[in-house]
């Protein structure tokens, strides 16, 4: 079959953990956009969901940090964070180990990958799944792109990873969905938490949803760091989805800066 769904969304822990502190009108619209994404995902009838995230030292540390890692577990659990702090109850998610191995083996023709048969989900994956697979019944294949600190994989390699994922999915009979989760501009977990560069975000989303590869890959990390914060380095997850959806444009379903969530909250879907 191939990819049957591709989208991007935010994953900041405040989205669930500090929801009571947001403007309820904006919050309702944001949550409604997540729910629209859930409905679209379900309508695509995927057999598995690939979640390209940027985890935050839940599984991987600087003693052995993969640039790109794909989960190959039988199952996963999360959140690793305190349930009350994140506002999400702990749950167990089915994996898709056979499909994972097939995809990884195929993708390794084009990109170097690490794999992991054990993986605890942090907010980077749990927040999207909280909205998109609330019954925790869709097999998950987690992917991590190190966005936490240099050395970081170049953007062009993220795009190439997305293309490799698409090619690998094309070779499989299963129906596969993919989402990328990350921030755009944000300065999370710093005294500047809540700062959001909306013009920068909108320019990035325009390039992303137009799937203009050269313009996406033109971003430089030092410039991103200055203009979009250290959290802006997570654009890698979105760019990977652009690669998976190469040749297709997308639609912005929601964008609004919500400072108490520390990020410009985003839901967007590619038109495959």
């Amino acid at each position: 079959m191939s990819l049957v769904f591709a989208g991007v969304c935010s994953h900041a822990p405040g989205i669930t953990g500090r929801k009571d502190r947001a403007d309820p009108v904006v919050l309702d619209a944001f949550y409604a956009a997540y729910d629209r994404m859930r409905q679209a995902l379900e309508a695509a009838r995927p057999d598995a969901l690939v979640v390209i995230g940027a985890e935050h030292f839940a599984n991987f540390f600087m003693n052995n940090m993969p640039a790109l890692c794909v989960g190959m577990g039988d199952h996963y659990e999360g959140p690793i964070e305190d349930e009350e702090w994140l506002g999400i109850r702990r749950a167990r998610f089915p994996g898709a180990p056979v499909l994972s191995m097939q995809l990884i083996q195929d993708m390794m023709n084009d990109v170097d990958l690490a794999y992991a048969q054990e993986w605890k989900f942090d907010h980077g994956i749990m927040v999207p799944l909280h909205f998109l697979t609330p019954r925790a019944d869709l097999p998950i294949i987690p992917v991590n792109i190190n966005c936490q600190g240099p050395p970081l994989i170049p953007l062009k390699r993220c795009y190439e990873f997305g293309r490799a994922l698409k090619r690998a999915c094309d070779a499989r009979p299963e129906r596969i969905a993919v989402i990328g989760t990350g921030g755009i501009s944000h300065w999370p977990a710093t005294p500047d938490s809540g700062r959001i560069n909306e013009p920068w975000d909108r320019e990035f989303l325009d390039r992303l949803l137009g799937n203009r590869r050269e313009e996406l890959l033109a971003y430089q990390d030092d410039e991103t760091w200055r203009e979009a914060g250290q959290g802006g380095l997570e654009i890698r997850t979105f760019i990977a989805v652009a690669g998976a959806a190469q040749g297709h444009t997308g639609e912005l379903w929601f964008y609004a800066p919500i400072p108490i969530f520390a990020v410009g909250c985003t839901v967007a879907v590619m038109n495959l």
Binding site: G14, R18, F61, D82, G149, W187, T190, D192, W225, Q230
Partner: protein, 101 residues
Amino acid sequence: MSLYYVQKLLFQLNRDPAVRRRFDTELETLLGDYELTEEEQRALRDPDIGLLYVMGVNGQILMHYAALRGFEWDAYMEAMRAGERKYGPVRTGLYTRAKGR
């Protein structure tokens, strides 16, 4: 400077219930298992969240330690600001303020 080991301890504390138990019951022995300076040990023990931030501990690690030690969100934000006022700008890592602010 053994920032790496400060972060490693906090990473393991966040992830491993057995390390959390040791943190509660034998803190000094646990600290002794890592290569930490006196200042780092003190910052962890107090806890001095502001100093840990200024040392350069990644916020995605420090955020959870602050929560573990009872800092609500606003108190965590204020602790980092207080750290900058008391100890100066972030010394190393992603949060150095060269041009970002």
